[in-house]
């Protein structure tokens, strides 16, 4: 028997392209974050509110990832910012080559912030670097307070946690203090925002974080 030593990362091609994306975005001074969550946590709704709040202050662009349809891109486009839809046709996550192609369709010289809305999934997107600066994970109160413990890799890799649908807290079985405790147990460095897209609560302070990061 003969043995060939390899010692290569399985996702090295993805990581190489992610680094190229990151360099290109940094050279153009575009602050980029990767928005991840389960399906239905409210990523697109948060983005719609974010765009409305920020579009007169900074230049935003959006890359939308979905398994099927361009419905989310249509929703974002109605708010008057450039958006590119990626349809993965069954793929459960975005990868760096898909983002490279999407970036080429955007005028990044003319952007301050790029938001990548990933496919709704808390597993695979944790492993695929896209070239973003940070990951922002969204969890909604309807998903229960134990979610960070069930998906530790994603919560460990994220820098920001948005707890969405806080207007529903009186009606759902979710203890927000327990949720925050669980999230910080996985990642004590998480910055946390509590939002509701129905009442608009918390959107302003979340948008303040974006402006702060974009101006660094």
């Amino acid at each position: 028997m003969s043995v060939i030593t390899i010692e290569r990362k399985v996702l090295e091609k993805n990581d190489e392209i992610a680094n190229i994306n990151r360099t290109l975005l940094k050279e153009n001074r575009v602050f980029t974050f990767n928005l991840v969550s389960s399906p239905g946590s409210g990523k697109t709704s948060i983005l719609e509110h974010t765009v409305d709040h920020l579009k007169d202050k900074i230049k935003l662009g959006v890359i939308e990832g979905d398994v099927q349809t361009d419905l989310d891109a249509q929703r974002i486009a109605r708010h008057g910012v450039p958006v590119v839809q990626i349809v993965t046709r069954g793929g459960c996550h975005l990868d760096a080559p898909l983002i490279r192609d999407a970036i080429n369709k955007l005028d990044i010289r003319n952007l301050d912030v790029l938001v990548i809305e990933n496919v709704g999934n808390l597993v695979c997107p944790a492993n695929y670097d896209l070239g973003e600066e940070v990951k922002v994970v969204v969890i909604s109160t309807t998903e229960g307070d134990d979610k960070p413990l069930k998906y530790p890799a994603m919560f460990r890799n994220a820098s920001v946690l948005i707890i969405n649908k806080i207007d529903l807290l009186p009606y759902v079985n979710c203890n927000i203090q327990e949720l925050i405790k669980n999230a910080l147990q996985i990642n004590p460095k998480l910055e946390i925002f509590e939002t509701s897209c129905t009442s608009g609560a918390g959107i302003e302070s979340w948008c303040g974080w974006i402006i702060n990061r974009a101006s660094k």
Partner: protein, 111 residues
């Protein structure tokens, strides 16, 4: 499935086409935090190599535990899945040193 495809792409870069039928195993290091379900990866891999010259190749997965060094007391802890604090001083200010691996270590060929 895309992970299994990436593994095969790397194997093809190292093995000449005429040697593919000799590949007996591919040794893979998989960290417990890598998000890989071994059975799913093995299934995807076997589906991709079915009826190809690589159909005798077995995927051998070595699971790598999650471990971390404490930034407060320098203790190295082996962590259970989802528990992120130092086993000695219980500080949560720790740096992961293993558990995220997803790497092909070696390929074994029959003579």
């Amino acid at each position: 499935m895309s992970v299994a495809k990436n593994i095969l792409d790397i194997v093809h870069e190292h093995i000449r086409p005429e040697d593919e039928t000799k590949v007996s195993s591919i040794i893979l290091k998989v960290g417990e935090l890598s998000g890989i379900v071994n059975e799913s990866l093995e299934f995807c891999f076997s589906t991709l190599v079915h009826n190809t010259p690589l159909n005798k190749a077995k995927l051998i997965i070595q699971t790598i535990p999650i471990s971390a060094v404490c930034n407060s007391c320098n203790q190295i802890s082996q962590l259970e899945y989802g528990v992120f604090f130092c086993e000695k001083c219980h500080s949560s200010d720790i740096k992961l040193i293993s558990g995220n691996e997803l790497q092909i270590e070696q390929i074994e060929l029959e003579d």
